[in-house]
């Protein structure tokens, strides 16, 4: 699989402040790429560099193998976090204008807009002024404006903010469909459950540096610690727990017990296989739950950022 977008050693300084320090990311074609990081980490700056809104001090961005040029903006659709529309302009006119600014012809733009307005069943908004729309409605229009010129690369910065769960789902499905049709998506958010759901690849930026990147599954493998969560019905919870603790390292679990079973997190040695633990446990009682603890995106995020803070 080739890469649609490669950003190489991007450096951006604002006066004495370094917003991006040698950040590189690789976005495979046809994937959904999660760009994560705490507030003020430099995500937006990186996105602006990719959009050619900000010029980097050093480093190059390649789109489809070639250095980014001004013409490429028609291949990129960008939904910024700080977004809005001209309040006193009519929805249809505004969408047409923004489509033409992206380089579409007026006729193409009209056709595309009709398609999307029909799809979202908002055809009757065409002549409404933006100030008459609710926030969610305006967001829908904004989404259409981002995708209507069929860009190869879509960049969404917090796309779900301002949407109710039903509409957020609608947008999520649209993003997945666009991906299936061949678009590549860069997705920046603080909502880790949607990262979990959508992203195949992620990069984590903290304090202007990239501290983590790769396939989400690889990263999870990297972050898991051979820990298993177990629930077991025993005759005597306290003594059995002591017995297990002699053979394995145990960690407190926050899993709620359904009955009065013993719930634990058990860590095994790196070279040990899980069957050893399972076999040992089966002799102690009836096992009702046995699962490897795989860190979720949220935990990875927190752990990586805390680690980075500790390292200074």
């Amino acid at each position: 699989m080739s890469n649609l977008l490669v950003a190489e050693n991007i450096v951006k300084n604002y006066g004495n402040f370094t917003a991006l320090n040698n950040v590189s990311i690789i976005v495979p074609k046809g994937s959904i790429f999660g760009l994560l990081g705490p507030n003020g980490a430099g995500k937006t700056t990186l996105i602006r560099v990719i959009n050619q809104i900000t010029l980097p001090d050093r480093g190059t961005v390649y789109l489809d193998g070639n250095p980014l040029v001004l013409e490429d903006i028609k291949h990129i659709g960008y939904l910024p976090e700080e977004r809005g529309l001209y309040k006193s302009m009519k929805v249809g006119e505004q969408a047409l204008y923004l489509a033409q600014l992206k380089g579409m012809s007026k006729n193409d733009a009209k056709k595309q807009l009709k398609y999307w307005f029909d799809k979202f069943e908002i055809g009757d908004w065409w002549n409404k002024k933006v100030q008459e729309l609710s926030k969610g409605m305006a967001q829908k229009v904004q989404f259409i404006i981002t995708v209507m010129h069929k860009p190869k690369l879509l960049i969404f910065d917090e796309p779900f903010s301002g949407f109710d769960p039903i509409n957020a789902n609608l947008i999520k499905d649209e993003i997945l469909q666009l991906r299936d049709e061949g678009a590549t998506v860069i997705f920046s958010t603080h909502r880790m459950e949607s990262v979990e759901e959508l992203c195949e690849h992620i990069a984590l930026i903290d304090k202007s540096n990239k501290i983590l990147d790769g396939k989400l599954s690889d990263i999870k493998r990297q972050f898991k610690s051979n820990t298993y969560e177990i629930a077991i019905h025993t005759s005597d919870n306290i003594s059995i727990e002591k017995e297990i603790a002699e053979k394995f390292e145990i960690l407190p679990s926050n899993r709620k017990a359904l009955d009065d079973e013993l719930v634990l997190k058990v860590k095994i040695k790196n070279d040990e296989i899980s069957n050893n633990l399972l076999n040992y446990l089966s002799s102690k009682g009836m096992i009702s739950h046995f699962a490897e603890v795989i860190p979720n995106a949220n935990e990875i995020f927190i752990q990586a950022v805390n680690q980075n803070t500790k390292n200074g």
């Binding site: 602006r48 700080e82 977004r83 529309l85 309040k87 904004q142």
Partner: protein, 439 residues
Amino acid sequence: MDKLLLIIKREFIAKVRNKTFIIMTFLSPLLMIGMISLVAFLTKSSLEKKRTIAYVDGSHLFSSDDFKDDKTINFINLSDVDLEIAKNITQESDHYGLLYIPKNNKVDELSEKIQFFSEDSPNMMLIADLESVISAKLQKIKIKNSGIDLEKLEASKINVDVQLSNFSGERTSKLINGLKIGFGMGAGYLLMMFIIIYGAMVMRSVIEEKTSRIIEVIISSVKPFYLMLGKVIGTASAGLLQFFIWSIVLSILMLIASLVFGVEMSSNIDAMQVSSEQMEMVKSTMAGEMQVLISEVRKLPLTTMFFMFFFYFLGGYLLYSSIYAAIGAAVDNETDTQQFMLPVMLPLMLGLYVGFSSVIGDPHGTVATVFSMIPFTSPIVMLMRIPFGVPWWQIAISITLLIVTFVGVIWLAAKIYRVGILMYGKKPTYKELYKWLKY
């Protein structure tokens, strides 16, 4: 380029469709005419109001021939009574005032002892009128006293009118200077108004884009510089349209006004006691002047004036509106713009004042020449100088400086604009702006 046109078109349409813009376009000329008419009406009615002035002449030098009733003043002679009684009468009968000429045989002393009593402070025009009547009378008395024949003195008066010619012998008109000054002042004033009105409009439009948060969507499609340029040009187009409509509506209203008031004007002339002989003389000299004037106007560098007007108008507007755009980009709301307005207004005001004070007196003097070179004042000052004929090398220097400055300022403004439009929540200082230039 296509995108620039798109932006210009959108800005133009957005401005023109704006309700305030439409209302102002048609209301302003009406308001202006209304104001002028109101002032004219009030002045006229205050002039026409008859005032009664009582006078006590203790000197017995004046007769009722000196204090003749006219359209605005009725005189009442109270010389028979004492001053105090006259005062009471004046107050009780609600007369405008009381003129008191004390008894004194020495004319020179008398001239400083005349008093006017009134309820409120009196109309200065009226006092001036009274003074001229009295001084004329006293002068006559003095002349008589020194034994000069008044009639001979009158006959010896002569009116001189110097005829202006240039060295090739053609007659020139004095009126043409007035016309040149009129053009210069009009053009300079127009340019300043245009910059202030539409520059501020550019600024507001930038602030609107910032506060509505659409800016990032747009500049992911076009370079900020084009957005700024499109905004400046689009607003100027809307402004020119508005000016055009204003001038049409104003001239129509003026025409109507002059038709209505014109009738009264001619009746006024009849009322003036001008002999038909004098009228003929005035008319013939006026006709002569007019002919000279027309030929003079034809000789004015009209093409140069037109192109220069065009150039300086455009240059001045673009220079200032790009600064306005940068200010708009630097702030989050209009109240924060105040601190940046002074440096913009100062050169504009200076240009206008220099123009009004020195160009009119001495169009080719040092002050006028220097300020017509300095780029920030040159559009206004040079526009005022042009009708008087400016050496080509001065124009060349002025234009070159203006273009160089314009490019520099646009470049700086674009930098501030580019950084500023993405900055939220910071109240910018000059230091901050300087830092932005280096981003």
